[in-house]
């Protein structure tokens, strides 16, 4: 029998094997998903502003720009569902569109979560999936100037056959455009092509990663009127909309994961102090 050649390495607080961290994180996240603890969720003023602004569009039409990659859906997906619930409850018509080539597929996945019971009767009247618009910023400008430049929706239905589009000829006819932000480039493109020329006002639904970069642009008199951030923002929006969903179920797991990571940061730094600051 061969003798196992296990590498001898000094184990301390500053060099905990990353696999131990992953395993602990897996348990800390997994257990509350199976047995929710029910930690309280506080609604932040930022999310409340977003909610109130969205509700002010009651009876109007908004566009949702689904410009995210699949990884962003972990946070933006629950936000999108909550926004669609709010829109339905407040009689706001929604146009789903996007300059990311996945946009049509996302809309096709998330619209039925809220509108499946009225899909046959209200599609094209209360909600529509215009799908992916090619051309990046050029495509945005074209859509802002002339929304009918998109000749058909994601399913090939002609725009002229969709009642929701009847009075939407330019982006000026929209109450808001909500950008689902996965990176900082696309929100800036929307600001340049929709907000700067004065077509419409912008709201942002963003990942926690992008939110700090958006902060300078958020405010009542700035390019982004209000914004919602990350999974916690989605959970707060679910709470406000009265439709608890995926995000609220995930907040326990996220809170416990934060605590675990803070413990590791503290342990690592204690280890560093005892080693005289040497890494």
């Amino acid at each position: 029998m061969t003798t196992p050649n296990i590498e001898k390495k000094k184990i301390g607080l500053t060099n905990i094997d990353s696999r131990i961290i992953w395993l602990l994180l897996l348990f800390v996240v997994g257990i509350p998903l199976l047995n929710p603890i029910g930690l309280p969720v506080q609604v932040s003023p930022t999310t409340r502003d977003f909610h109130n602004t969205l509700r002010s569009a009651q009876g109007g039409v908004i566009a949702l720009a689904l410009d995210t990659d699949p990884a962003g859906l972990a946070e933006l997906g629950p936000q999108l569902t909550a926004i669609l619930h709010l829109a339905r409850d407040n009689n706001i018509k929604v146009i789903l569109v996007g300059w990311n080539n996945n946009a049509g597929f996302y809309a096709d996945t998330y619209l039925p979560k809220v509108f499946s019971d009225v899909w046959e009767t209200r599609y094209g009247i209360d909600f529509v999936n215009l799908g992916f618009i090619p051309g990046g910023e050029t495509g945005m400008k074209q859509f802002a100037e002339d929304t009918w430049s998109i000749t058909s929706d994601h399913y090939g239905e002609s725009i002229s056959q969709l009642p929701i589009m009847e009075n939407i000829r330019t982006a000026s006819d929209l109450d808001y455009i909500i950008e689902f932000c996965w990176n900082i480039d696309l929100p800036q493109n929307i600001m340049r092509q929709f907000v700067a020329p004065g077509y419409t006002k912008m709201l942002a639904a963003s990942t926690a990663l992008v939110y700090p970069s958006l902060l300078p642009f958020i405010g009542p008199d700035k390019s982004i009127v209000a914004a919602v951030k990350g999974l916690d923002g989605a959970a707060q929006l679910e709470l406000l909309s009265g439709h608890p969903g995926e995000a609220l179920k995930g907040t326990d797991a996220q809170s416990l994961a934060h605590i675990l990571l803070i413990i590791f940061i503290v342990l690592g730094n204690i280890g560093l102090i005892f080693r005289g600051g040497k890494r």
């Binding site: 080539n101 700067a196 020329p197 926690a208 990663l209 995930g250 797991a253």
Partner: protein, 230 residues
């Protein structure tokens, strides 16, 4: 109870990808390859569909002007050639650069410069609730000091040295906030993936995954390849 094949396949693929957390292995490589292949195939289909909707269908209705964009697109391929026609790729590149810059510049000055300056110089520094006043003074201080961090014209001596130190502290605070956001986003991805596994039939596969992991660890230990990884 009906078996949900979609959830089972998704759960298995998620666990196969996460097997990388133990170490690089063939199961991870197969899943990675499948993901890359599926993504590329989807992009090709979406692009061909866009071409059909934007060029082919209007072309059949007599709007042949859209073919110009296809010709310009094809010229990009000249970049891969070495002959005397290689320069032709510069035509579509110049179109894209020119139109992109032209589109972006006008809005950029308003959104990123004028609006930002206006928003910074018009915030109330007195006569507002104390929390807001403190916040506004912090914004002014941070804007001024961070601007000096990127001021390279004169050496950082005297008062300038201390101003840049304060600016750097603000920058580090921002980077810390950004990094915390990155962690939160990765956590959210983990939560959403674990929800797929644990809330559906994927949970049946969890014991199997742990057994396979244990076998992998045992074989690594036997071969003397069980290393600490940092």
């Amino acid at each position: 109870m009906a078996i949900d094949t979609g959830v089972l396949v998704a759960s298995a693929l998620i666990m196969m990808i996460y097997s990388f957390l133990y170490r690089e292995n063939i199961v991870f490589r197969i899943t990675e390859g499948a993901f890359v292949g599926a993504s590329v195939a989807r992009i090709i289909v979406v692009n061909l569909d866009t071409l059909r909707k934007s060029v082919w269908v209007p072309g059949l209705q007599g709007e042949i002007i859209w073919y110009i964009s296809v010709i310009l697109g094809i010229l990009y391929v000249m970049m891969l050639t070495e002959g005397s026609y290689k320069w032709l790729y510069r035509i579509p590149v110049s179109f894209v650069l020119g139109s992109g810059l032209g589109l972006a510049l006008a809005g950029m000055i308003k959104v990123s410069l004028i609006d930002q300056i206006k928003a910074t110089i018009t915030i109330p520094l007195v006569g507002a609730p104390i929390g807001e006043i403190l916040s506004n003074w912090t914004i002014i201080l941070a804007t001024a000091t961070v601007t000096f961090v990127f001021y390279f014209t004169s050496p950082r001596e005297g008062i300038l040295k201390y101003i840049t130190i304060i600016g750097r502290l603000f920058l580090m605070t921002y980077l810390g906030y950004q990094f915390a956001g990155t962690i939160m986003m990765r956590e959210s991805v983990l939560i959403s993936q674990l929800t797929i596994i644990l809330k559906g039939q994927g949970i049946w596969l969890v014991p199997l995954a742990f057994i396979l992991l244990a076998i992998g660890i045992y074989y690594d230990w036997k071969k003397g390849q069980l290393h600490w990884m940092n």
